[in-house]
């Protein structure tokens, strides 16, 4: 269960007033802090509900200065989830804290180690590079340095987790004279590492090279990710890695109801809210010079599949028809998801079961139906042939039992 924690009740004319969901909306013109308090609580409730319903992991993320999702520090959310799910076979997936934005990054190493300890070794350590706006505008990271900072920070964090001796880190971006982290994660030498990316570029190369799990966080659905999927698996083969599907995660917006018609009716407004209001980021904030390395920049200019899509011109029926959102009866959703799982060789499905303005009751209903009627049919897809090496070890053997209980 993936959650963005968006602002759920934006003014109707929000998309006329602002040309971006990021950076520009002024807090005091748009937001109500009491409501925001309720959203944070509702988000935690929904995720804990998902854990009880039998979903395998709870996924938080970090964003700043926007209406689209503002878990500014996902470790705060993760701490609540880790504590409240003690004794449950559910992973705490931090997807996660953004390394280049945090100085020194050992702060994140500490927070994640705390989460792994609190959860009893159930942490999945996600390390996004961070969206351009998050890193460079909200946190002042120099665009052309974002990726090199990220790589150095990740190397520092993984060393800090497992080093048996106190060490000095004399890096290009970080200098620490005596690193001796307290606490260390239960999972040694490190918890499973998941790294998000929006396409196949230097990040994906790096992820495969390091044998971590690559998470394609697209909001455009499996149907529109086939090219990325193919290129990912080509990369995996080229680098001599195995074809274990669990090294690939994919995000999908999902809305389940009793019938297709009911689902389309229930989720239409929330899908439009998500794509029209929350996801809307103009090109000048997405493509900040330097955030893409030179090779990736040239590649993006040659081939940008989403250039030319104006989300605000599309309606709910388009989002459904194009597969941006998978909605329908349990049977329809199962079939569509299974097509995507097979086509992309998806090991982990990051189910965005809350999106847009969805109220908490509807979200819980969505979770409940998904957990009872959809998940049990999807979960065993790869289990008999592949081991999930990117899952907390203590949960690996228990997972089939949990699934059996859920089904």
């Amino acid at each position: 269960m993936f959650h963005l924690m968006p602002y759920r009740d934006l003014p109707a004319d929000f998309d006329q007033r602002y040309s971006s969901a990021y950076i520009d909306p002024v807090w005091f013109d748009v937001a109500d802090p009491d409501k925001v308090g309720q959203y944070y609580n509702a988000t935690l409730d929904e995720m804990l509900f998902a854990a009880k319903a039998g979903l395998h992991g709870l996924c938080t993320n970090q964003h700043h200065q926007n209406v689209y999702g503002f878990m500014a520090n996902p470790s705060i959310m993760g701490a609540v989830l880790a504590k409240e799910t003690n004794g449950q076979n559910v992973a705490i997936i931090q997807l996660g804290s953004t390394l280049p934005s945090t100085t020194p990054p050992t702060r994140i190493a500490e927070e994640y180690a705390m989460l792994d300890c609190i959860s009893g070794g159930r942490l999945v350590a996600g390390f996004p590079t961070g969206l351009p706006t998050d890193a460079t505008i909200s946190n002042g990271v120099i665009p052309v340095e974002q990726r090199e900072r990220y790589r150095e920070a990740l190397a520092l964090v993984t060393k800090a987790w497992s080093a048996k001796e106190i060490f000095a880190w004399n890096g290009r971006h970080y200098q620490l004279g005596m690193v001796n982290l307290w606490p260390r994660p239960i999972q040694q030498p490190h918890p499973p590492i998941w790294i998000p990316g929006s396409g196949i570029s230097s990040t994906a190369e790096y992820v495969v090279g390091q044998d971590h799990c690559f998470c394609h966080l697209s909001y455009y659905g499996a149907k529109n990710a086939e090219q990325v999927g193919d290129r990912y698996w080509e990369l995996v083969a080229r680098k001599g890695r195995d074809d274990n599907p669990y090294r690939f995660s994919f995000l999908q917006l999902i809305g389940v109801a009793e019938t297709d018609a009911e689902a389309e009716d229930l989720y239409a407004a929330h899908a439009e809210y998500f794509f029209h209001k929350l996801l809307y980021t103009p090109q000048y904030y997405q493509a900040i010079p330097g955030c893409l390395e030179y090779g990736a920049l040239v590649q993006a200019l040659q081939n940008n599949p989403r250039a030319g899509i104006n989300l605000r011109e599309l309606k709910a029926k388009d989002f459904f028809a194009r597969g941006f959102v998978v909605v329908g009866s349990p049977k329809t959703v199962r079939e569509q998801l299974m097509d995507g799982i097979k086509r992309l060789r998806m090991g982990h499905l990051l189910a965005l079961l809350h999106f847009g303005s969805m109220p908490t009751e509807l979200c819980k209903r969505n979770i409940d139906l998904f957990a009872r009627e959809v998940l049990p049919h999807l979960a065993p897809q790869w289990d008999d042939r592949y081991e999930d090496r990117w899952w907390p070890e203590r949960l690996r053997t228990k997972r089939p039992a949990a699934m059996a209980a859920a089904s």
Partner: protein, 266 residues
């Protein structure tokens, strides 16, 4: 416009390749381009070359074939020392420096660091200072709609049209766009997110006679900054240019050239 000699230098322990376009005859003059690369400034450079030998280096990372050079310099200090090395390699002794925007800040910083190494200096709409009441616009994150009027007094004029012109298709289009974006990335490395690297603390060291030119309609950094620079640089003279924005040398090339020429004594 005569084709300049292009000299490719290997600098910084061989980690940076920089093309320097050399043209004209006369006393040496170094031109340091702004955030959008050397390409938009070539006509202006050609005018300078009518009375000077002009050396126009490309900022590290913007030389074709070596985009990674931007990663060879980490800090503002590195960049200033790098320019010292570049000038040494070109065997220039106290050349005149002319810089625009980001390039003008580099020129001014170099002149403050090595006061005896600069002859005369012209700063065209330099960045590098900051006033809370007059925030400098971040030119790297402007919408298309905001960018033209921020850069040009006449957003629809010929200078603006030429500045934003991109070949309609093919590899040339990709290359032009990539260079335009990457040049901002490479210069932005040293001034993101606010183009204030403490130059105000060092400005007093500048010994070079200095001319400060400013487009009256500069929408990136307000013309009031001309006085902010002038009061920190001993003896500096200010000229405001009518009907020009952040790129007066493109929008009013003749006026700018005439003023520069008179100042340099050419």
């Amino acid at each position: 416009m005569a084709t300049p000699e292009v000299r490719r230098l290997r600098l910084w322990q061989d980690r940076i390749q920089t093309e320097v376009e050399i043209s004209g005859r006369g006393p040496p003059l170094v031109y340091l381009h702004g955030p959008w690369g050397l390409a938009p400034d070539r006509a202006f450079v050609a005018s300078l070359a009518e009375a000077n030998t002009v050396y126009a280096p490309k900022h590290p990372g913007t030389t074709r074939g070596d985009p990674e050079a931007v990663h060879a310099l980490d800090t503002w200090f590195d960049l200033v020392v790098y320019y010292g090395e570049l000038f040494d390699k070109l065997e220039l002794s106290a050349p005149a420096l002319v810089g625009h925007s980001f390039g003008a800040l580099v020129a001014a910083e170099f002149a403050a660091t090595a006061p005896k190494s600069v002859g005369r200096m012209v700063l065209i709409d330099p960045v590098g200072l900051w006033r809370d009441d007059l925030p400098v616009k971040n030119w790297m994150i402007l919408s298309d709609k905001a960018r033209r009027p921020s850069l040009f007094a006449d957003p629809e004029g010929e200078a603006a049209r030429r500045f934003f012109e991109v070949p309609s298709e093919g590899a040339e289009r990709i290359d032009t766009l990539a260079q335009f974006i990457w040049a901002q990335a490479c210069s932005g490395k040293f001034v993101w997110p606010i183009a204030d690297r403490g130059f105000a603390k060092r400005a007093h060291r500048i010994a070079a006679p200095t001319l400060i030119l400013w487009g009256k309609a500069d929408g990136i950094i307000a013309p009031a900054y001309a006085q902010e620079f002038a009061r920190r640089i001993s003896g500096a003279r200010v000229e405001l240019i009518d009907q020009a924005g952040h790129l007066p040398h493109l929008e009013q090339p003749q006026t700018v050239m005439k003023t520069v020429r008179a100042f340099l004594g050419g």
